[in-house]
């Protein structure tokens, strides 16, 4: 028997455009998956990675069709198999774990019942055996107290737990091949690290082959033996994981690795220009030509073929890979960010607390908010003019909530927001005058949601210019063009609609709109999380440039500690709406750390096979902050005892001016765990 489990041969998949043209999503893909091997497929959105993974289980999405080639599993082509035969293979021989496991589970059925269904469908076990198997499976995916989990409904589990259940269900049929499509995207950093560790364990334990699809090289690096890099529907690089990450010989992968921020590097990485061509754009030469730093004239008109290099056991699609062969490692250069903050305070939050609790009638009448345990509490931050301060924490830690109150979109329960040392800002929009509104602008995570799809770029940028400065006609036009240039977009973008722009371009428009108001402070809520990795660095660089030019202050919210490391001067770490640690970036990223900061730092996934995440604490999710004591007590692995449960820990200062809120003395926090 051969050790090849899945063979993709010259596979092309595409769709017919409205005009009847055939548009290719996958272009002549060939690859093999070996028994027991984990293959990572990485690429940006639209590169065809999910289409390839689905084809590997004989599934072609509605609207797409196979143009040529085959996917061979156990020497039969899945793509022309009858659906009856396919059903026998799917779930039993090949299982799939989707991105959003919560949605894949049936909401009104208990977890145990759903796993039992999968077992009935995919195995021949008796009822007794199945019962045992359910606990076994739940145990295997390391869910705490499997017996109770089996009796719960999907919505009673956290995202990470739902993902584990999905893994358990996939394992029910003891598959030979497990396909995972972005299985950890959308999970919290800490949860993500735990799920990946689990997948590694399962791969070793069961010998199942895995195909792991992701846009995140950090996640891919943790699980893969081999990596396939896709770009614009083609495989551009394929080889052993370590070589690809340490010595990428394709310009795209090389540039990508250079542009990903790393924890160990303070400062902004180099960015890659442009964006991936949309499917259907007719290009004669190399699809990466527009963005390539190694290109030559030949690349413009001739497409390179995928070439197998025997000595490296690597396939590469590039004429000039030799130039990269000589570069022994990716030398990442970062532009150290200039800290041009001065000592003048621009925004001060003192004793701010915010509550989402539904208010009783009496409180409503007296227009007050009463909540003993508000979502956000005790926030004291002093923000200096011109600095970038980052708020970090897992989802639900209250980062966006704080931004909303600063923007006047959410009333605070208590506390003061003071601007420019002497002006109090109300947290209620209606009580702010137009100038108060102008000085603080927001940039959102997802430009698809933050730009009105029915407005042109011109109309979008004109809004603040008209509203705040009453500009009209020629002058308005001049200002719009000027702003577009500042965000590196040409004048011809004015007449476009958001749907005609790539993700990075849309976010640039959102940035231009924020700067149009000439604000003093810009609130950035996860502004790069929805962007492709290759354009993330470009947007970060742009934000930094604009800040240096205009002296703007940024409050930068992110869950990505590497991104925060790259751009921020100061960091505030939040857990359950309470501050844990505040200090200059350089210090927050060094020991001593607050136990929670330590957890967050340990969980960061780096695109480097030599840096493994450290899993210090459990990845349980807490619904509500604790009533008393330290906010992190529920998950803290260093917990000292009753004092943590009773008393709010004091702020302690380190030598470098870093403030940590913990009962453990600084000296002891100095010692790293593990």
């Amino acid at each position: 028997m051969s050790d090849i489990i899945q063979k993709v041969k010259n596979l092309s998949i595409g769709f017919k455009s409205k005009k009847g043209e055939e548009i290719l999503i996958l272009k002549n893909i060939s690859t093999k998956i070996k028994k027991g091997e984990t293959v990572g497929i990485v690429g940006e959105s639209g590169s065809g990675k999910s289409t390839l993974a689905l084809a590997m289980m004989g599934y072609v999405k509605h609207g797409l069709y196979t143009i040529g080639g085959e996917c061979e599993f156990n020497s039969s082509n899945l793509l022309n198999m009858k659906s009856k035969d396919l059903e026998k293979i799917r779930g039993r021989k090949i299982a799939m774990i989707p991105q959003n496991a919560g949605q894949a589970l049936t909401p009104n059925l208990k977890i145990g019942y759903q796993i039992d269904e999968a077992l009935q469908l995919h195995s021949d076990l008796s009822e007794k055996e199945r019962e045992k198997k359910i606990s076994e499976l739940l145990n295997k995916v390391r869910l705490p107290s499997p017996e109770t989990i089996a009796l719960r409904y999907p919505h009673e589990l956290s995202g990470g737990q739902q993902q584990r259940v999905a893994v358990a269900m996939a394992l029910a049929g003891t598959p030979d091949l497990l396909l995972l499509d972005e299985p950890t995207t959308g999970l919290d950093v800490t949860t993500q690290a735990h799920v990946l560790e689990l997948l590694n364990f399962i791969a070793k334990d069961t010998g199942t082959s895995m195909v792991y699809v992701s846009h995140d090289l950090g996640a891919i690096a943790q699980v893969s033996d081999r990596i396939i890099v896709m770009y614009s529907g083609e495989i551009v690089l394929e080889g052993p994981s370590r070589d690809i990450l340490k010595r990428p010989i394709h310009p795209y992968t090389h540039g990508l690795l250079k542009s990903i921020p790393k924890l160990s590097l303070a400062g902004l990485p180099e960015s890659m220009p442009g964006s991936q061509p949309q499917p259907g754009i007719i290009q004669s030469g190399c699809s990466f030509f527009d963005r390539c730093n190694f290109s030559e004239d030949k690349c413009k008109n001739t497409s390179p073929q995928l070439e197998f290099l025997k000595e490296l056991n690597t396939s590469v699609r590039c004429f000039n890979y030799e130039k990269l062969l000589n570069e022994s490692q990716v030398n990442q250069n970062v532009n150290k960010i200039k800290n041009n903050s001065n000592d003048k305070e621009i925004l001060n939050l003192s004793e701010v607390s915010i509550s989402y609790a539904k208010q009783k009638l009496l409180d409503q009448i007296f227009n007050r908010i009463s909540d003993d345990n508000p979502t956000v509490q005790d926030i004291n931050i002093n923000i200096k003019k011109g600095e970038t301060i980052a708020l970090v924490g897992e989802s639900g830690s209250g980062k966006s909530t704080i931004l909303k109150s600063i923007a006047g979109l959410l009333k605070t329960k208590d506390g003061l927001i003071r601007f420019d040392e002497n002006r109090n800002l109300s947290s209620d929009l209606k009580e702010r005058n137009p100038n108060d509104l102008r000085i603080i602008q927001l940039i959102f995570q997802n430009p698809d949601e933050s730009l009105n799809p029915n407005h042109t770029v011109e109309e979008i940028i004109a809004q603040p210019l008209k509203l705040y400065f009453g500009l009209k006609g020629e002058e308005l036009n001049k200002n719009i063009i000027d702003l577009l240039q500042k965000v590196r977009l040409g004048e011809f973008y004015m007449s476009r609609y958001p749907r005609q722009l790539s993700g990075g371009e849309k976010q640039r428009v959102a940035v231009a709109r924020a700067f149009a108001a000439k604000p003093d402070i810009i609130l950035c809520d996860e502004v790069t999380s929805a962007l492709d990795v290759s354009v993330q660095a470009a947007v970060l660089n742009l934000l930094q440039q604009l800040k240096e030019d205009f002296g703007t202050t940024y409050i930068f919210v992110s869950h990505d500690l590497a991104v925060v490391r790259a751009i921020s001067d100061r960091v505030a770490v939040l857990y359950q709406g309470r501050l844990c640690e505040v200090g200059p970036s350089n210090d927050v990223y060094k020991f001593p750390s607050h136990p929670y900061t330590e957890v967050l730092l340990g969980a960061v996934l780096e695109p480097d096979p030599d840096i493994k995440p450290k899993l210090v604490a459990e990845d349980i999710v807490e619904e509500k902050p604790p009533e008393k004591g330290c906010s992190f007590q529920g998950r803290c692995s260093r917990i000292v005892g009753d004092i943590c449960k009773k008393d709010i820990p004091p702020w302690q200062l380190t030598d470098s001016g870093n403030a940590i809120r913990c009962h453990i003395p600084i000296k002891e926090l100095q010692k790293e765990q593990l």
Binding site: S275, Q463, L501, A517
Partner: protein, 297 residues
């Protein structure tokens, strides 16, 4: 820096946009048929007074219930009037009244729906309860009550029909507004300090307009059916003005021996309803709105 231009597409004028939608509609067989029928009826409504071969009210006892012939293409009715003349004229009143009725339905239904979606909370709840309460009254009974109190003049019929057929539009407009209101671009506009009016006009309406228009077009065909039922019952158009509903009602007793007097208005009415229906469907598809889940009430 190299900018990778994706599509080059120029901003279109309103006229270009409208013509593009119509071309897309007509490029589907069902849309083409629907549009042709509708356009045919509209043209007919305009020109019929000039091309009608006979006087629609000329009674001629000697010519009662003539079968179709070269002279009287669709035959004559029980009063000896030419059925062809009355058929081509019979859609004018219905078409006009329901067209303006639909505009009124669109206006109040759309605005109230957007308002409810926007304010949300208690007010939204209360308004929707009231709308639901009205929805549960059989509309035909209410219409009968109104026309018997206020008469059957155009000034009564248009607003009354507009009122009853606007309820469905409230729901659609409200749901569409709810979807839009959660989007960050609205939050962004609020944070900048735009007025409520500006937010409704610039941010919400452009995003809910398509759904509301499609619903309005759908309501038009149902309103036409409703209006013809009123005429059929004798509460719509008053004789001797020719009207399909009225003609069907008058001639239905003669069905067994003078079928032509019934068939002609039935074909007129049903073809127009089908035409509007197909057009509204094609309109929805051309705008990318999926109505397939909703059935007519």
């Amino acid at each position: 820096m190299k900018i990778n231009s994706i599509y080059k597409e120029e901003k279109k004028s309103a006229f270009q946009k409208v013509s593009e939608v119509i071309i897309t509609m007509a490029s589907r067989p069902s849309g083409f048929i629907g549009l042709s029928i509708l356009v045919f009826h509209i043209i007919l409504a305009f020109v019929s007074p000039y091309i009608a071969p006979y006087d629609f009210k000329a009674i001629n006892p000697t010519l009662m219930l003539q079968a179709p012939s070269a002279e009287y293409w669709f035959g004559t009715d029980d009063l000896g009037r030419d059925v062809f003349t009355r058929t081509i004229l019979g859609g004018r009143t219905a078409l006009t009244i329901t067209f303006f009725g639909s505009l009124i339905a669109l206006l109040w239904g759309g605005l109230l729906g957007i308002f409810c979606g926007l304010v949300g909370g208690k007010i939204d709840d209360i308004v929707m309860r009231i709308v639901d309460a009205f929805l549960s009254i059989p509309w035909i009974l209410a219409m009968l009550l109104i026309v018997s109190l206020l008469g059957t003049s155009t000034e009564v019929l248009i607003p009354a029909l507009g009122f009853f057929y606007g309820k469905g539009i409230v729901r659609v407009a409200r749901a569409a507004t709810h979807d839009v209101i959660a989007k960050d671009f609205i939050v962004s506009a609020r944070a900048r300090g735009h007025s409520n009016f500006s937010i409704i006009w610039n941010e919400i309406i452009p995003n809910v307009r398509d759904a509301i228009l499609v619903e309005g077009a759908m309501r038009w065909s149902w309103m036409l059916l409703g209006f013809s039922s009123l005429s059929f019952l004798g509460f719509g158009v008053s004789p001797p003005t020719p009207d399909w509903g009225l003609m069907i009602s008058n001639a239905r007793g003669l069905m067994s021996f003078a079928y032509w007097a019934v068939i002609a208005p039935i074909v007129g009415l049903s073809s127009l309803i089908i035409g509007i229906n197909l057009t509204a469907d094609a309109f929805a598809k051309a705008l990318g709105i999926d109505r397939s889940t909703k059935a007519p009430v």
